[in-house]
């Protein structure tokens, strides 16, 4: 929708917030879980941010027209990793609640400048780091010890292992965003963010070693045929991922090779039949 001309600058709010209480932080963190409900190709998470900031905008500004202008500033293009949206929300709220005057053009530029770093850091840290690590570990544990009796226990443990650091990151993000305001991206200058990728790579490499042993510890992998099928699947997908071939097609080929390899094994009288 076209909102040009709605506002250029928004003056100081009538009821500035000076402190974000624990209740406020939890409320904002809860609403940040829904920033992707309206995800669309125009504003991406824009309306989700509007939803998250809505009760706070109403709290800091009672004048209807100024409230409308603040809501307009809350919407618009925005995209960030979902786990780092509290960082952006905290910073936006701080600026809205504390600054003497918000210039719309400067605000939009600043806001769009957050998208790249918040997306890249979040994707590296969570989607490409914590998530694969936790779920590869969970797979290894289930391969070694999983049974219909204990599977829910292990699944619940995997959920905790993922969600505890993620919620720590969310609440840390809110605190940092609120305390840094406009300079929120300086939060990423901490050594942790520089070292996280290399450490996740190392831990993932160790887990791959464990996964190989755990897979071979499976009773289904004790025949030469089964070992061959495992190795073929592994090498095929590794090569396909390296060559950036479509994932689904590569998987269909890997699975489709199973009866063919069994037939070949029968021809050469290999074990496993």
């Amino acid at each position: 929708m076209d909102n040009r001309g709605l506002c250029d600058c928004v003056g100081r709010v009538s009821m500035p917030l000076t402190h974000l209480h624990l209740g406020d932080r939890l409320h904002l963190a809860w609403r940040s879980l829904f920033v992707q409900v309206f995800w669309n190709y125009r504003a991406m998470q824009g309306e989700g941010f509007l939803f998250a900031l809505l009760p706070f905008v109403r709290r800091i500004e009672s004048n209807a027209e100024k409230q409308r202008r603040l809501l307009h500033l809350s919407a618009g293009f925005m995209n960030a990793h979902p786990c780092l949206t509290p960082l952006a929300l905290g910073a936006m709220l701080r600026r809205m609640a504390g600054e003497q005057e918000l210039d719309e053009h400067e605000w939009q530029t600043w806001r769009e400048g957050l998208c790249g770093p918040l997306g890249t850091v979040g994707d590296t840290l969570i989607w490409d780091g914590l998530k694969p690590l936790v779920f590869v570990l969970a797979t290894i544990v289930l391969l070694l010890f999983g049974s219909p009796q204990n599977i829910l226990l292990f699944s619940f443990a995997a959920l905790l292992l993922y969600n505890i650091p993620v919620w720590g990151l969310r609440l840390w993000g809110l605190k940092e965003g609120w305390s840094r305001g406009r300079e929120v991206l300086r939060a990423f200058e901490k050594p942790f963010f520089r070292q996280a990728k290399s450490w996740s790579d190392r831990i993932g490499a160790v887990l791959f070693g464990l996964l190989l042993v755990a897979s071979f510890a499976e009773s289904t992998l004790f025949t030469p045929l089964a070992i061959g099928q495992f190795v073929f699947g592994c090498l095929l997908l590794w090569a396909c991922m390296a060559a950036r071939w479509p994932l689904i097609s590569s998987l269909v080929v890997a699975v489709g090779f199973v009866p063919f390899s069994a037939w070949l094994a029968q021809l050469v009288h290999l074990g496993g039949w």
């Binding site: 309206f38 994707d123 779920f135 599977i151 995997a158 996964l211």
Partner: protein, 236 residues
Amino acid sequence: MAGWIALFGAVIYLDTTAAFQFMLCQPIIACPLYGMIVGRPEIGLFFGVTFQLLWLRALPVGAARFPEGNLGALVATALAATILPTAGGAASLLVLAYATFAGLLTAGFGRHLTATVRHLLRHFADSYQSALLEARRWHARTLFLAALFFNAVAGALFVLVLYFVFLYVMRGILGVSAQVPLSAQNAELTDRLWSGLRPALLGAGAGIVAARFVREHTLRWTIGGFVIALVVFLCL
């Protein structure tokens, strides 16, 4: 059964991208839970473990189209749990293989689902913004709930449709079900042909993990992990 599939489809679809993202959607969580509910935990375990690794590199990043592997795993589990009357029955590996293909195809079709839903959500988003700027609070609240519901229904309908399509294809064309069993000889043959399904899926998953984590500078970490795990395994 259909009610559970729809409920799981809705929750998984919401949790994958739209809301919460607690990772309840992951195959290793959702499939065993579904298996427990329908009384086939071993099938949930099979697909939970094998499908989990396959989607590790399919990241729901920005506007990228990604395979809906979580919904695919649910369809595979639901199909196998419906078609296989008892654990370890005749032609069970053929059914698992069929369900695996169905799961992979579902994940592939899912790429278009998310793109379509996101195009349609623009209308909800525009109306929501207008409602708030015009101070129509109840309208805005209704639109938010409608968008949430729309996401959930999209996930539920998608898995239900594909589940029934693949179920009837299996029953109609291949003639494999509790009602129309294969002959004992054919069942034994198909099970022998598909005996490598689990190793192949585990191998494919391991290949995807390797593609993500194994590099020249991390090779010694891989070897270290492998040696330590091997020693522990042999000692135990």
